[in-house]
C-alpha cells in the first residue's frame, strides 16, 4: 500500500523535476522554435505555427548532402564495428592468453578516452601513413569507438550463453560455420541489433573525432556547428537539429526495448 509517507519529500521531488527540466528544456526550445513563424530567432512567445522551415531546410543542398554523408558514415562505421566487435568478442570469450587484459583494455579505451585525444591521435596516424583525410578516415575514426559498443554487448551475451550449445551443435555434425550460422548467430542477434543501433547513433552525431579526421567533408554535426555563425538560418538549424534528435533517439530507444531486462547496454552513456 502506498501512503503519503512512502512518497519522497516535496523538496526532493521539486529538485528531481528541476533536474529533468534543466536537461530537457533546451531540447524543447529547439523543437518549439522549429515550428515558429518568425525568422529572426528566439522571441518569446512564438509568433505562430508553421511548417515552412521544414520545406526550406530540405530544399537546401548542403543540408541534404550533410545528412546523406552522416547516414553513410554511420552505416559504414556500424558495419565495421559489428564485424570487428563480434570477432573480438568471440576471440576473447572463454580464452585465456598472455596479454588478454591489455587487449580488453585497448578495445574499451576509445570510448573512455576524450574524443579530442582520439582525434589528434588518428590525425597524426593518418598524416604519418600519408592517408588523405576524407570519407574513409572519418569512418575509421568512428569505428574505433563503435567497436567497443558491439564488443561489450556481444561478449555479455556470450557469457550468458551456455557453451554446451556450441558443443552440442558440433556433436550433431555441424562444422564451425554451421554452428555460427544456426546456433551462435541466433543467440547474439538481438545483442548485435541493439549494439548496432547504438553504434549508429554514436557515429551519426559525433563531432570531435570527426573534426580531426574530416578534411573537407561536412558531416551533419559539422554543418550545424558552422551554422552558429549564421543567425539568419536559426529556424533551419532547429529543424535539422530536430531531425538529428529523431534519427539518434529512435535507435537508442529501439536498443533499449530489444535488450530490456536482459543486460546492460554497455556504452550507452557516451
Amino acid at each position: 500500500m502506498h501512503s503519503d509517507q512512502d512518497r519522497a519529500p516535496l523538496w526532493l521531488r521539486l529538485l528531481a523535476y528541476g533536474g529533468i527540466g534543466f536537461l530537457f528544456l533546451p531540447i524543447a526550445v529547439i523543437i518549439i522554435y522549429a515550428f515558429n513563424a518568425e525568422s529572426a530567432g528566439y522571441s518569446f512567445p512564438p509568433k505562430g505555427f508553421t511548417l515552412s522551415w521544414f520545406g526550406a531546410a530540405f530544399a537546401r543542398n548542403d543540408v541534404l548532402q550533410a545528412i546523406g554523408l552522416s547516414l553513410q558514415l554511420a552505416a559504414l562505421a556500424t558495419v565495421l564495428a559489428v564485424l570487428l566487435g563480434t570477432l573480438a568478442a568471440a576471440a576473447m570469450y572463454r580464452r585465456d592468453f598472455f596479454g588478454k587484459n591489455a587487449i580488453t583494455m585497448m578495445l574499451i579505451l576509445p570510448i573512455a578516452l576524450p574524443g579530442i585525444i582520439t582525434g589528434i591521435a588518428l590525425l597524426s596516424a593518418f598524416r604519418l601513413a600519408d592517408i588523405p583525410s576524407g570519407f574513409w578516415t572519418i569512418a575509421i575514426g568512428h569505428a574505433t569507438f563503435c567497436v567497443v559498443v558491439i564488443y561489450n554487448n556481444v561478449i555479455a551475451r556470450f557469457r550468458r550463453m551456455s557453451y554446451s550449445l556450441v558443443e552440442a551443435s558440433q556433436d550433431l555434425g555441424a562444422d564451425m560455420f554451421q554452428t555460427f550460422r544456426y546456433v551462435v548467430l541466433p543467440q547474439i542477434a538481438t545483442a548485435l541489433l541493439a549494439g548496432g543501433m547504438l553504434a549508429f547513433a554514436l557515429s551519426f552525431d559525433e563531432i570531435i573525432v570527426t573534426t580531426f579526421t574530416a578534411g573537407n567533408e561536412v558531416t551533419l554535426p559539422i554543418w550545424m556547428l558552422n551554422q552558429l555563425t549564421r543567425p539568419r538560418d536559426v529556424p533551419i538549424t532547429n529543424v535539422v537539429a530536430m531531425t538529428v534528435m529523431l534519427i539518434t533517439a529512435l535507435p537508442i530507444l529501439g536498443a533499449y526495448y530489444l535488450t530490456r531486462g536482459t543486460e546492460d547496454i554497455a556504452g550507452s552513456g557516451k
Binding site: S164, L165, E167, Q170, D171, L172, G173, D175, Y182
Partner: protein
C-alpha cells in the same frame, strides 16, 4: 563382440593438472558402460575425449578401430546427451531433434517425420511445437536423448544426464534408459557420481579416482571383490581396515574391507571360521527395513553393522554405551590392494 571405444595409455593434462592420467580401457560394442567417480576424478574428461571436445595429451584413443585423436566432434560417429541438456533455446522441440538431420541435408518434411518418430519413442509426441523453455526437466532430458539418437550413433555418451532430476523421476529414467539401450543395442557410455545409478544400470563400471581407473568390472564383482580400499568405500558402504588395524584385529597386515550387512553380533554366528572383535555400541540409526549400528572397536575405529528389522521392529543387541562383540565370517573379508 568388437571393441567400440579403446583407450590406450591416454592422458589429458592441463598444465600441471593430470585430469586423465594414463588410462587404458576397452568398451565393448552394445555394452552399457558406466564411468563412476567423485567430481574431479577424470570421468567427464574421459567422456569428452570420446566425444572429441578434448584431445588427449598423449596415448591413443580408438573408436571402432579408427584413431580418433585429432578428429573434430562433428566427424565422430558418437553423440552426446549433455548434463545441462544444451537444447537450442531459439528452436522448437521438433527442430531441436531434427537439427542433426538438417545438417546432413535431409529434406524438411523427411527430417520432421523422423523427428516426430523419435519424439514418439521418448513419449513426447505432442510436444514438437513447444520451446524447450516450456518443458520440465524430465521432458528436456527426453528431447536431448531424442536429438542425440536421431543420428543413429553407434555410441551414445551420457554426461550425468539424470543429475538434475528429482529422485522418483531419476529412478524412472534409469529404467527407461536401460530398456532403451537394450532395444537399440548400441553402446551407452554413462558418466555418473552416483554409485547406485551405476550399479543398477550398467553391464560394467569403471571406477575413477584422481584421473586414474581403480577397477573395471561388472557391478557384482565391484561389490564382492573390490580391488582397492577406494572402490570398497565408494561402491556401497564398507568398513575398511588398513594394514595396521588388521594386524591388531586378525593378526596379519593385509588390508581388508567388510560390508556392514555381513557383520553380526557375536552370539548370532556359529563358531567355525569366524572373526570376533570386541567393541562398544555408540549409536543406533533406524532406517525402516534395516537398522544401522555404529560400534567402536580397538579404541578409535567406528564400524557400521546393518541388521534387518523383523516386521520393521528394531531389536537392539545391546544398549548404547554397552559392550558389544562383533563377528563376521572370515570369507566376508574382502582383501584390498591399496
Amino acid at each position: 563382440m568388437s571393441i567400440a571405444v579403446q583407450f590406450q595409455q591416454v592422458s589429458r593434462h592441463y598444465d600441471s593438472v593430470r585430469a586423465v592420467d594414463d588410462i587404458s580401457l576397452d568398451i565393448a560394442e552394445g555394452e552399457f558402460f558406466s564411468m563412476l567417480g567423485p567430481s574431479g576424478s577424470g570421468k567427464t574428461t574421459s567422456l569428452r575425449l570420446i566425444a572429441g571436445f578434448e584431445q588427449p595429451s598423449s596415448g591413443s584413443l580408438r573408436i571402432f578401430g579408427q584413431e580418433a585423436a585429432g578428429l573434430p566432434p562433428n566427424l565422430r560417429a558418437v553423440n552426446t546427451v549433455f548434463q545441462d541438456y544444451a537444447l537450442f533455446p531459439h528452436m522448437n522441440v521438433l527442430d531441436n531433434v531434427a537439427y542433426g538431420l538438417m545438417l546432413k541435408g535431409v529434406t524438411k518434411s523427411e527430417r520432421h517425420r523422423r523427428a516426430e518418430e523419435m519424439l514418439e519413442m521418448v513419449k513426447l509426441g505432442q510436444y514438437g511445437s513447444r520451446r524447450p523453455s516450456a518443458l520440465s526437466g524430465g521432458q528436456r532430458q527426453r528431447v536431448a536423448l531424442a536429438r542425440a539418437l536421431i543420428l543413429q550413433p553407434r555410441v551414445l555418451l551420457l554426461d550425468e544426464p539424470l543429475g538434475a532430476l528429482d529422485l522418483k523421476l531419476r529412478e524412472q529414467m534409469q529404467t527407461e534408459l536401460k530398456t532403451l539401450q537394450r532395444q537399440l543395442g548400441i553402446t551407452f557410455v554413462f558418466v555418473t557420481h552416483d554409485q547406485g545409478e551405476a550399479m543398477s544400470m550398467s553391464d560394467r563400471v569403471a571406477v575413477f579416482n584422481k584421473g586414474r581407473i581403480e577397477q573395471v568390472a561388472a557391478p557384482q564383482v565391484l561389490y564382492n571383490q573390490p580391488a582397492t580400499a577406494f572402490v570398497a568405500d565408494f561402491v556401497g558402504a564398507a568398513n575398511v581396515f588398513d594394514g595396521e588395524l588388521a594386524s591388531t584385529l586378525v593378526g596379519h597386515a593385509q588390508s581388508f574391507a567388510v560390508r556392514p550387512e555381513r557383520i553380526r553380533p557375536a552370539g548370532q554366528l556359529a563358531d567355525d571360521d569366524v572373526v570376533r572383535v570386541p567393541g562398544k555400541l555408540l549409536d543406533i540409526q533406524y532406517l525402516g527395513a534395516v537398522s544401522r549400528y555404529e560400534v567402536e572397536v580397538s579404541g578409535h575405529k567406528v564400524v557400521s553393522m546393518v541388521l534387518p528389522n523383523e516386521n520393521g521392529n528394531a531389536t537392539a543387541p545391546a544398549e548404547i554405551g554397552a559392550a558389544l562383540t562383533l563377528a563376521w565370517p572370515s570369507h566376508a573379508m574382502l582383501p584390498l590392494a591399496g
